[in-house]
Amino acid sequence: MPAGLNRALLTVIGAVIAIVLAIAISSVAITAAGASPLAALGAFFDFGSSPRTVANGIATFLNRAVPLFIAGLAVAVGFRMNLFNIGVEGQYRLAAIVAAYVGSTFTAPAPIQIAVIIVVAAAVGGLYALIPAIMKVTRGVNEVIATIMLNYVAINLASYLVRGPFSGQRAEGALNTTTPELPESAMFPNLNFIFDWFGQPEPTRGGGVWGFLIAAVVLGVLVWAVLERTRFGFEIKASGLNGPAAAASGVNPKKMIIAAMVLSGAIAGLISLPELLGDKGAYTSTFTAGLGFLGIAVALLGRNKPVGIAFAALLFAFLDRAQGALQFADVPASVITIIQGMIVLLVVVANEVTNRFALRLEERRAAQQLGRNAPVEVAA
């Protein structure tokens, strides 16, 4: 399919142009700010000088990408059905605290312990997403409002739980509230051994490269398989592309709303686990927030497809990692957010432009064909 290949090529070229353009525009801002764009560019690729800092930098980069990827997947599942789940933020926060607490109440062999925590997290996220889903199917409440409001409810609920019923012993003289410490068997083994394979020193950073990366990859494959290969995925796709047609084909729209929302929430429930099981070992009041909102950008940039989302998450994480390096280079670190915002915008603009360009090519081809073909015969 040369036409399809052309399209793919154009898409890639468009994305590259968009990223270059985003960097160029940011460079102008950086220059205006009196810093050097080259230094900034260098900072993004500056993973430090010693093998140890490189290893740490890579770990930081990957560890950031994993939750972003899961968040993107969660949002994408909703988007596939034209359901705008802004509530990923609240869903993962609530799932995190409940999973952290439940995981701390018992000790079992590692696989069981971890499996229970994962199941609890997914269940809590899914159940919390069930609320807006039920509100939508029974009362027609717009899911955008419902999830916005439920985010605030979740933040407060989590705060209440971590201070009250789920609070745990904290270190002497520490001020952040926390759930009880997870037992050792709950900690997900890390992937530092991969560095050994390449004869590199392992990252020393807390938790190393989080092993949940593997789980995320598996999740990505699973989500891909469910969305692209199963009947359920087909029904989600159909409902998203054309609701009335799906309904006429026997897809129950209410069931699909509930299923997609719960699936989205269940995936959202896992967002916090890499950090929780890989590093922190407890939910604290200074837990990483905002991943749900970033997930929206990641999902959209990745066009709601698992592979695209993976690329988008890696790109965002790559940029985020440079937070410290940029400051060492005396460049305002806020350029990261600017570049991210611009990439999201420009990549889709580039996509539109290349699409139109491809259409124009088609037109030209049609015109040429006309020149070759014999003119239509005129009768009567």
Binding site: F84, M135, I145, V153, P332, I338, L345, V353
Partner: protein, 426 residues
């Protein structure tokens, strides 16, 4: 139902609501339920939400979904702070409007000219708004700059040189302050009315008046001018508008830029309240504004109701954690009223068809309502202080409850969010 009929029903509804609030206030002794202070706070908190919602309304009526309101609002706050400390409140107003409009312009270019998915563009603007403003702060407000001398920090601008004036209703809420006096008597209904009126007329910033006037103005422009008709047609059926010679692109551009300007104005308002730009002061109000607009069914009046509900609940919880518990009583009374109406319906014989149909379901519903009433009443009696976390979420939960109870015949503009290109029909 005719226009007049709807209008009357709304009036009766408001009257019943005030009566109920008055009743709950007297029974619970929580004067803040209808105090002037609460209503003043409600106004203060509702205005930025309402402005963001208006922004959403303008864009979506023209067929462009605007999830980027938050980012535009952030731009509004920053530029208002930046201009305000140097050249005063009028400059702050203009700069904030322009800042928001700039965000709107980006959104318009992306969605209208390039046909980008509206949500993607909005999300990008929500990233760009805080990113760009933080960047500007880091450059313009860093140590050693004149701004820093004037009191700026990376998270705050210097204070606006002079805050905008406030005015009150003479006699009634100022000077002799007749309404205030009446409010303080705590009489049933009369004091409540006085409190509400005084809250809305005492020491009101001119910007509040301006903002509130924008609601009828919007209604007027969108529903009673040629431009408004064209704008709405662009949101309902842009192809039809195009076929009649309307320049849909231009209309959409204007609408989205105005949308951004309104969101920016919401930011200006926040800056005026705090007299300076404070990083993060929008705190998600763009999203709440969007929710208020959907709540209000893409209409200015409904949007105002949504913003007012949210502002009122937020003001009440900020002023009095105790008063929040009287919502239990409020809910119990509402359920009681519902039960009363149902019982009357059951005993009356003029609606037989519905009864024949409902039967069993009706009774279970009533039983649930009765149980809910008892639980709420019991909660009201036993709980005198909710954990703070449950107080903070009052406005959010209340909004959800109202949405659950109110029937949802939402009708968004038909071509809202639809990619429109000139000369291409859907």
């Amino acid at each position: 139902m005719s226009r007049v009929g709807k209008y009357h029903v709304a009036l009766i509804g408001v009257a019943a609501l005030i009566l109920l609030m008055s009743l709950v206030r007297v029974v619970s002794g929580q004067n803040d339920i209808t105090s002037s202070g609460t209503f003043a706070a409600a106004l203060l908190l509702a205005v930025p939400i309402g402005l963001a919602g208006l922004g959403g309304l303008w864009a979506e009526r023209a067929g462009v979904v605007n999830i980027g309101l938050e980012g535009m609002m952030v731009l509004g706050t920053w530029f208002a702070g930046w201009a305000g400390y140097q050249w005063g409140p009028v400059a702050a107003l203009l700069a904030g409007l322009l800042g928001g409009a700039l965000g709107g312009l980006i959104h318009a270019i992306a969605t209208v000219s390039f046909g980008v998915d509206h949500i993607i563009s909005g999300v990008a603007i929500n990233l760009l708004g805080p990113g760009v403003t933080r960047f500007l702060s880091e450059v313009l407000y860093k140590e050693g700059t004149p701004a820093a001398e004037a009191g700026a920090g990376i998270t705050t601008s210097p204070a606006i040189s002079s805050p905008p004036p406030e005015i009150s209703l003479p006699l009634l809420s100022q000077g002799p302050d007749l309404l205030g006096a009446l409010e303080n008597t705590h009489w049933f209904l009369l004091s409540d009315l006085a409190g509400i009126l005084r809250g809305l007329t005492h020491n009101v910033s001119v910007l509040v008046i301006l903002a509130v006037l924008l609601l009828p103005l919007t209604f007027f422009v969108l529903w009673h001018t040629a431009f408004g008709l064209r704008l709405r047609s662009a949101g309902e059926n842009p192809w039809a508008a195009e076929s009649l010679g309307v320049n849909v692109y231009r209309i959409k551009y204007i609408a989205v830029v105005i949308s951004g300007a309104f969101a920016g104005l919401g930011g200006v308002f926040l800056v005026f309240v705090s007299t300076k730009y404070v990083e993060g002061q929008t705190a998600g109000r763009g999203f709440i504004g969007l929710a208020a607009m959907i709540f209000g069914n893409w209409r200015p009046g409904g949007l105002a109701a949504g913003a007012a509900l949210f502002g009122y609940a937020d003001g009440l919880q900020l002023r009095s954690s105790g008063a929040v518990t009287s919502f239990f009583l409020f809910g119990a009374v509402l359920l009681l009223v519902y039960l009363g109406v149902q019982v009357r319906r059951l005993t009356a014989s003029d609606r037989p068809a519905e009864l024949a149909a409902r039967g069993g379901r009706e009774y279970t519903l009533m039983a649930v309502a009765a149980a809910g009433m008892v639980v709420l009443f019991w909660l009201w009696l036993t709980v005198d202080q909710l954990p703070n976390e449950f107080v903070f979420i009052t406005p959010h939960v209340l909004t959800l409850l109202v949405l659950l109870v109110a029937s949802q015949r939402l009708r968004m503009p038909k071509a809202d969010g639809v990619r429109y290109r000139r000369g291409e029909q859907h």
